[in-house]
């Protein structure tokens, strides 16, 4: 998610392909270095939709379809 623009595709690839996985890892780290938070939308066994915050690429479920980055939260309107 990008302020002023909304959803934008940053990178895509297949984690089963080594080169593509490496590119995804680098992009993941770059986004976190820029101060973004990463979340993975998930669907539980009972059908409930949830989200998991991830701090490392290894925490991302292998079968997930997408990772959403959004700016890090900060206290507002103090």
């Amino acid at each position: 998610m990008r302020p002023g623009f909304g959803e934008q595709l940053i990178a895509e690839g297949d984690v089963d392909v080594v080169e593509e996985e490496q590119a995804l890892i680098e992009e993941f780290r770059r986004q976190l270095d820029q101060g973004m938070w990463a979340a993975v939308p998930i669907t539980r066994a009972d059908g409930r939709r949830e989200a998991e915050m991830v701090r490392a690429f290894e925490e991302i479920p292998r079968d997930t379809g997408r990772v959403i980055f959004f700016p890090r939260a900060a206290g507002g309107a103090a």
């Binding site: 998610m1 990008r2 302020p3 002023g4 623009f5 909304g6 959803e7 820029q34 101060g35 938070w37 979340a39 939308p41 409930r48 939709r49 949830e50 989200a51 998991e52 915050m53 959403i68 959004f70 700016p71 890090r72 939260a73 900060a74 206290g75 507002g76 309107a77 103090a78």
Partner: protein, 209 residues
Amino acid sequence: MIVALSATAIVVLALLWEIAMPWIDRRLEARRARRAARRAGDAGAAYDPGRERRAEQRARELLKSCVNEEEWAMYRDLGFLRVWGGQSDADGELRGVDYAYLIYPHKPIVAYLPQTGRLLNEYCVEFPDETRPYGSPRLPDSDDVLAKWMALRGDERRIISQANLHLPGRQIDPRQIQRDLWRLSRWERERLARAMRADAPRLAEPADG
């Protein structure tokens, strides 16, 4: 006579100035932002009157694809989301306490007790883009809601610790929240009634054998 007319003219000019100042400020601010965008060489940041609307449409689609059907319907119909508290509390410290949050776009997250409607706190939180040196516009409304939803679902403690804590009423009128809670309860009753009506014919069918 002339003195009176002059005084009136001065007063009128002063009032016009007061009215015009915010408009002039906004125009100057927009102009400065456009110049900064041009200097940064970011063609995508150039003024585009439809950009924010398209961004919001994309954001709504993204939100719909991430939250539960009931939550999406709640946001679509009421303009806010309710998220139960303690859902992501891994160590269980907060489990068993029925509290919930109301998520509004670009407003504080409001914590309350659903049983009594008592408001607990306002958590003021923003998602500023730190990657742009001159600052940037805010997230589309639905992206702001989704970011809060994901953060509360995924790591409630983390986002609450980042937020500025205030007593209820700091930014959102408590009467508005009470009104929204009343709208929410009515919305849920109607939704339940619809679901029961839809199930009724199926339940009325005689069982086989």
